[in-house]
């Protein structure tokens, strides 16, 4: 894409600029129940990405004509904070965030048991506080945990990450510089069974390279699933009684 002629080297002795192996994820940090007002919430870091997801519902649908007689509708709003990227982003939805919202909703909807809640809505809000390539996948991971935290009945969790191609090599979970100067990006999301619910691709790959990227991204999702699961088990196995609003800890400053 851009800057091909600069010929930056992305590998030194087989490791990437940040010291990762080609098939290694960035460090992940997940916290559940970080917002007091939301029915479910999750704060997540994937490398330098920092996202927060909140779930409200099932609740009444406004405007009412959006109601579905036989199931709940799911709404997903992906929003980037204006300070989340190098150059200030104009606040509010744009075409990219509209598309990301759509595919992210479609990544989660298949596992949500919407038929349990006719005429209602499950609202998912994802705010990107800091972006470093992979915000849609981080958002989906956080939203999936937040849905579980809200007690929304689901068939399973959804885990999401991307694979890319840099310097001719397929790598897992590209960071910003790899994404910008790389040759392809394949974000996916899947259930723990391996059913894929998000698949996008841009760049250029041979069919063989695509297969390798998809396999690598699936392996990444499996690792993320284990972390998501552990965070939820840890939180709910140790909880004796439901917490009241003011006992829920907010985000500390260093987390943001």
């Amino acid at each position: 894409m851009i800057g091909m002629d600069e010929k930056l080297s992305f590998f030194k002795n087989g490791v990437r600029l940040d010291g990762r192996r080609p098939d290694e994820l960035r460090p992940i940090k997940i916290e559940v129940g970080v917002l007091a007002r939301a029915d479910g919430s999750c704060y997540m870091e994937m490398g330098d990405n920092k996202v927060i997801a909140a779930v409200y519902g099932p609740r009444e649908v406004h405007p009412r004509h959006l109601q579905e007689a036989t199931r709940a509708i799911v709404r997903y709003r992906y929003n980037m904070a204006s300070f989340s990227v190098e150059e200030r982003k104009r606040p509010g939805p744009d075409r990219r965030s509209n598309e990301v919202s759509k595919v992210s909703r479609e990544a989660l909807e298949p596992v949500i048991l919407t038929s349990y809640f006719p005429k209602s809505v499950v609202d998912v809000f994802v705010e990107v506080l800091q972006a470093d390539a992979g915000t849609r996948t981080a958002g989906i991971n956080a939203a999936s945990v937040a849905l579980a935290d809200a007690g929304i009945p689901m068939k399973s969790l959804i885990s999401s990450c991307a694979a890319g191609k840099v310097d001719g090599e397929i790598v897992l979970d590209p960071m910003k510089i790899e994404d910008n100067l790389g040759e392809a990006d394949v974000p996916i999301a899947m259930t723990p069974n391996g059913d894929i619910t998000l698949l996008q691709m841009d760049g250029r790959l041979t069919p063989e390279e695509f297969r390798k990227a998809l396999t690598m991204a699936k392996a990444g999702c499996e690792q993320i699933y284990e972390i998501q699961r552990k965070v939820l088990v840890d939180r709910y196995s140790s909880m004796d009684e439901p917490e009241s609003c003011d006992e829920v800890e907010g985000l500390s400053e260093e987390e943001i």
């Binding site: 595919v103 894929i196 619910t197 998000l198 698949l199 996008q200 250029r204 695509f210 998809l214």
Partner: protein, 259 residues
């Protein structure tokens, strides 16, 4: 409510037809509807194409005009893709700014053109940092009978391949053809149970909850993909779709887009 019931009956019928190995219009699972491509129907545009994919009709107009480059790519031209799902094209389209379906359509068409490198953006630079050619690709859906992604993508590349840079009009020398270096073709499939069917019509789209669009380049690489719709898709099916997509795209490219 009666609408919901009717739709379910229709869906059930189509689904079971496919399980028996048939489609309502008699096509094979990997067979496209008849494609009719007409380039240059709009003389006032710098490039244009009318695509008929079965009964689906899409018109794509390309306008090229000088403008300012983005500050982070001062020596590159700009591509701007837009799609209008005008209310004349379907009872479910409503007037107003593009909704997410329209935005997704435009962005997938854009992805094919951009990621394939079909247009060499650096060749569109007039004065670095000041003036470059801006290529507007406007997709105008006329009749939505299914698979707008493939029809619009085909219209876009066909319009670009026949586009002229209107240099004379702006006092920038002689007019010349827009250089196009690759020919991306989008191919879309849906799954019904274990069956995969290509080029779905509107009924088939409404039965299957999920589509996969694969965009391939002239050398057989994949340059864009989009899963669309709230459903699952298995790795095995993805691979099968990519393989067949490469073949169908090659046929479409050879038949309609030979330079």
């Amino acid at each position: 409510m009666s609408d919901v019931v009717m739709a379910e009956i229709r869906k059930d019928y189509l689904y079971h037809l496919v399980l028996k190995g048939e489609r309502a219009d008699g096509r094979a699972f990997d067979e496209y509807r008849e494609i009719v491509l007409e380039t240059g129907p709009i003389r006032k545009a710098d490039g244009s194409a009318l695509v008929k994919l079965g009964k689906t009709q899409v018109i794509v107009g390309v306008k090229i005009q000088p403008g300012e480059p983005f500050s982070d790519t001062p020596n590159k031209g700009v591509i701007i893709t837009n799609a209008e799902l005008v209310p004349l094209a379907s009872p479910s389209f409503e007037p107003g700014p593009p909704n997410e379906v329209g935005i997704e359509l435009a962005r997938v068409v854009d992805r094919g053109v951009r990621e394939s490198g079909a247009i060499d953006l650096e060749s569109l630079c007039i004065t670095p940092g000041e003036k470059v050619w801006i290529v507007f690709i406007d997709v105008h859906v006329l009749d939505d009978c299914g698979n707008l992604m493939d029809a619009s993508s085909l219209g876009a590349i066909a319009a670009l391949m026949t586009a002229t840079i209107p240099a004379q009009q702006y006092g920038l020398g002689e007019d010349y053809p827009l250089p196009v270096k690759d020919v991306p073709v989008a191919t879309t499939a849906v799954e019904f149970g274990d069956a995969i069917i290509f080029d779905p019509d509107t009924d088939e789209e409404s039965v299957a909850d999920t589509k996969l669009t694969v965009i391939t380049t002239a050398d057989g690489s994949v340059c864009g993909m989009q899963k669309s719709g709230p459903g699952f898709i298995s790795q095995d099916h993805i691979y099968r779709i990519v393989d067949i997509a490469c073949e169908r795209a090659k046929e479409i490219r050879e038949k309609f887009l030979e330079v």
